[in-house]
């Protein structure tokens, strides 16, 4: 029973929060609601018994990713409202609505095939983290390593991209070209 309550609660909150993310003009609001939504999503994971995933979600998303966004925001002027020309909004909502409709219809349809056998079944009495660990380090070892490498590459890339010309002020009204010109003149 509590599962039902939790599900609907989380669902409602998540959808609401994400709507704020998508609709808000203020980056700060958007980011905050996004972070909150992600926390709630980890709630889904806990309900679904994917404890480890939930934890990773909290750490990686809410912790790392959102932290990154916060830092990034500091480079931009986040206090101002974003001025956007949100044209074609009819088309946007039509497409969004349509895709939602179709997806919902598809997922709401009863699933016929029961004959799906688990490739890597969960084990009774074994903790989720343990289970995940076993599969991750046996069957998915190579993807896992590749992912690790990818993260490393991404990290370096992020540092290099963001770290260029950190000595220059970004708040002055100067375009990058002008900055470069100034630099050349020195």
């Amino acid at each position: 029973m509590y599962e039902v309550v939790a599900f609907y609660l989380f669902s409602g909150l998540t959808i609401g929060l994400f709507l704020v993310t998508v609709m808000s003009k203020n980056i700060l609001y958007a980011m905050t609601s996004l972070a909150a939504g992600m926390v709630l999503i980890s709630g889904f994971f806990f309900i679904l018994g994917a404890d480890f995933l939930g934890v990773v979600q909290l750490i990686a998303y809410v912790g790392a990713v959102m932290a990154l966004y916060s830092f990034a925001m500091m480079f931009f002027d986040a206090t101002r409202d974003i001025k956007e020309k949100n044209t074609n909004s009819a088309l946007v909502f039509l497409l969004g609505g349509l895709s939602a409709l179709v997806l919902v219809l598809m997922f709401a349809a009863p699933i016929h095939s029961d004959a799906i056998t688990a490739l890597y079944p969960m084990h009774e009495g074994v903790g989720n983290a343990q289970d995940v660990g076993i599969v991750l380090f046996t069957k998915y070892l190579i993807p896992f390593e590749v992912a690790a490498l990818m993260l490393l590459v991404a990290m370096i890339a992020g540092i290099i991209l963001a770290g260029k010309k950190m000595d220059q002020s970004l708040t002055e009204d100067m375009s990058a070209d002008e900055i470069l010109i100034q630099k050349d003149e020195k």
């Binding site: 074609n88 088309l91 946007v92 497409l95 349509l98 895709s99 179709v102 997806l103 219809l105 598809m106 349809a109």
Partner: protein, 634 residues
């Protein structure tokens, strides 16, 4: 020995043609004509020897030279068969050809394309020899088309003449007439080809002997179809209605050509085909077709004679008369009297060639003037020609003891004998008309007042040697009829015999008398009307019937208005409207559509990431929809 003679008879004209062709582009050389004539004479001698051999032994000579086409089960050799029928044709063809060749040396004397002329003329004889000598239908078709091409070349011999309006010259121009002849013949040739196909697929061969042996085992409808299509072929070559218009237009060619091709030999090829294929046409099952042939022949005999009555063109009158006589031959062949048809063919070849050559003399004398209304009184300067043409006309009119009397009378008698009284009546009337127009022409040309003087023409007689060369034809035109009995005996070893019934036999003298009276009546009327001089009757010349006949029943105009012009128009429409605007435009349209859609799609590449995302979403949603629908359906 005899085989060699066959080859000599066949190839001497070819050698002659090739030899003349060597000098085709150089200036006139008399020796070319002499050598060509000599070679033709050799061919004639060989044919005559073969004829006497066949007469004495009665066994046909059959030689196979080499394979021609063999594919699948079809095997066509170059094989030649010299039997009673073909040897008759060979002798007639080579004899007339030799005379015409010698005649041409004189007639074409002043033409700068003298050598070329002999090349064409000999090539024609070669083709004609193949036509008559072949032992199979395909070989016949080679000759059939070969004579067509030579006729095209020779009709259009004076190709440099410009096109003029139909009122000025009913044949427009030699090259126009040549093309008309070729194309009309091609129409008939298609029929003939189909006839060959029918025979091949039903008998498995195109050899005469195999085909004729197999015929009795075939169904009636096949036989009828074969007979009809073969006869369509014959109709074209022999210019039967409605494919007759080319023959009179073919008179644009030099006169020796008209004499050889359009009177004596080529146009009789159709008759020859029917005679050759007599085992087919004589069958019970195809009696209907044969009767149609006879009826059509009779109709053409009358139809052509009617047009000859009023024509003013010397050569065209003879051409119409040729047409009319071909009708007689078909009537005989259709009624089953093949040997009579063949006999009339031979006799007609002699006197009609003579008539044409005589007309050539007149033309030569009159500086190519052909209007008989502008002649008259020529007998003073051209007595030998007058005699020749007179003899030939007597033969044509069927006056007793001339060649035409025997053969034409036999045909008319046959019509009576078969009980086809309507045909008989028409043929008798036509005989009268024939006599009238023949002598109308002779009298207008040679008798009466000398109208040519008004046009400042100074006629002169033809060269002596030419006149001498014509003498064999004149002789034959007079005496050929006496060989009828032996001829019958000779050819009926191969052709079916045809005897008059007792009853007909008894009243034969009466029938002959009727024809004679009608013919003499025709001559007498012509004499009365024209011998003293030309008195033109405006009222008559303006009457509807006269105009109708003078304009050939408006058939050429009809063809032009309803076939030639619509064809050209349709072609133009097909090209400009259909091909350019529909077929090609569709292709270009597809290309343009692709180009335009590319141009339109280019706008999607706005460079704005947001737009791209929109398009991506559109695509994704579409894919989702497809997935959803296919899931629902499948």
């Amino acid at each position: 020995m005899m085989e060699n003679l066959v080859y000599i008879a066949l190839f001497a004209p070819l050698v002659s043609s090739l030899f003349s062709a060597l000098f085709g582009m150089s200036k006139r050389q008399t020796f070319v004509g002499v050598i060509a004539s000599t070679l033709l004479f050799i061919s004639f001698l060989a044919s005559a020897t073969l004829a006497s051999h066949i007469v004495s032994t009665g066994t046909p000579i059959h030689v196979t030279m080499m394979d021609w086409i063999s594919a699948g089960d079809l095997s066509i050799p170059f094989g030649f068969l010299v039997d009673q029928v073909s040897v008759t044709m060979m002798t007639v063809v080579t004899l007339v050809s030799t005379v015409v060749h010698i005649y041409s040396i004189g007639y074409m004397d002043h033409d700068k394309s003298f050598n070329r002329f002999f090349s064409y003329l000999s090539a024609f004889v070669f083709s004609m020899m193949i036509l008559v000598m072949s032992d199979n239908f395909a070989g016949l078709f080679i000759g059939w088309e070969g004579v067509g091409v030579c006729s095209w070349l020779l009709i259009g011999f004076w190709y440099h003449k410009a096109d003029v309006s139909r009122e000025e010259n009913p044949s427009i121009s030699p090259s126009w007439a040549a093309n008309e002849a070729f194309i009309v013949n091609r129409i008939a040739d298609l029929g003939m080809l189909v006839g060959l196909f029918i025979l091949y697929w039903n008998t498995g061969s195109l050899q005469y002997d195999v085909v004729f042996e197999t015929l009795p085992s075939l169904s009636g409808s096949v036989l009828n179809a074969a007979a009809i299509f073969l006869f369509i072929g014959a109709m074209g070559k022999s210019a039967q209605f409605p494919l007759h218009t080319w023959l009179t237009d073919a008179m644009e060619g030099p006169t020796p050509v008209s004499a050889l091709i359009h009177a004596a030999t080529m146009v009789t090829a159709g008759v020859f085909l029917v005679i050759r294929a007599n085992p087919l046409f004589g069958m019970e099952e195809v009696a209907g077709v044969s009767y149609f042939i006879a009826a059509l022949g009779t109709f053409v005999a009358f139809f052509a004679a009617s047009m000859a009555l009023v024509n003013r063109d010397l050569k065209r009158i003879i051409a119409f008369s040729t047409l009319s006589q071909l009708g007689y031959m078909f009537a005989a062949a259709g009624l089953g009297a093949y040997w009579i048809a063949l006999f009339h063919l031979a006799a007609h070849a002699f006197f009609k060639a003579l008539l044409f050559l005589g007309a050539g003399n007149v033309m030569h004398a009159m500086h190519d003037e052909l209007d008989i209304f502008k002649m008259g009184g020529l007998k003073k300067v051209m007595r030998p020609t007058y005699i020749y043409m007179g003899l030939a006309s007597l033969a044509l009119a069927g006056i007793p003891f001339f060649a035409g009397f025997f053969s034409k009378d036999a045909i008319i008698e046959t019509a009576w004998n078969e009980g086809t009284l309507v045909l008989w009546a028409i043929l008798v009337i036509t005989a009268g008309m024939t006599a009238f127009y023949s002598f109308r022409q002779v009298f207008l040309t040679f008798e009466g007042d000398e109208r040519y003087k008004a046009f400042d023409i100074h006629p002169h007689e033809m060269y002596k040697f030419v006149l001498i060369a014509m003498s064999p034809l004149a002789l034959l035109a007079v005496v050929a009829g006496f060989g009828m009995g032996s001829f019958e005996h000779f050819v009926t070893t191969l052709l079916p015999e045809y005897h008059m019934s007792e009853h007909t036999h008894h009243i034969a003298w009466l029938l002959g008398l009727v024809v004679l009276v009608v013919a003499v009546g025709g001559i007498a009327y012509a004499y009365k009307k024209y011998a003293k001089g030309l008195k033109r009757d405006e009222a008559l010349e303006n009457s509807f019937i006269y105009q109708l006949l003078a304009n050939q029943y408006y058939i050429p105009q009809f063809y032009e208005a309803f076939i030639t012009k619509p064809y050209a128009m349709l072609s133009e429409i097909l090209w400009k409207e259909v091909d350019m605007k529909i077929v090609d435009a569709t292709v270009d349209g597809i290309a343009k559509l692709l180009y335009k859609s590319g141009d339109g799609a280019r706008r999607m590449q706005s460079g704005n990431l947001s737009n791209y995302l929109n398009w991506m979403a559109v695509g994704a949603v579409l894919l989702l929809l497809v997935a959803a629908f296919s899931a629902m359906l499948g």
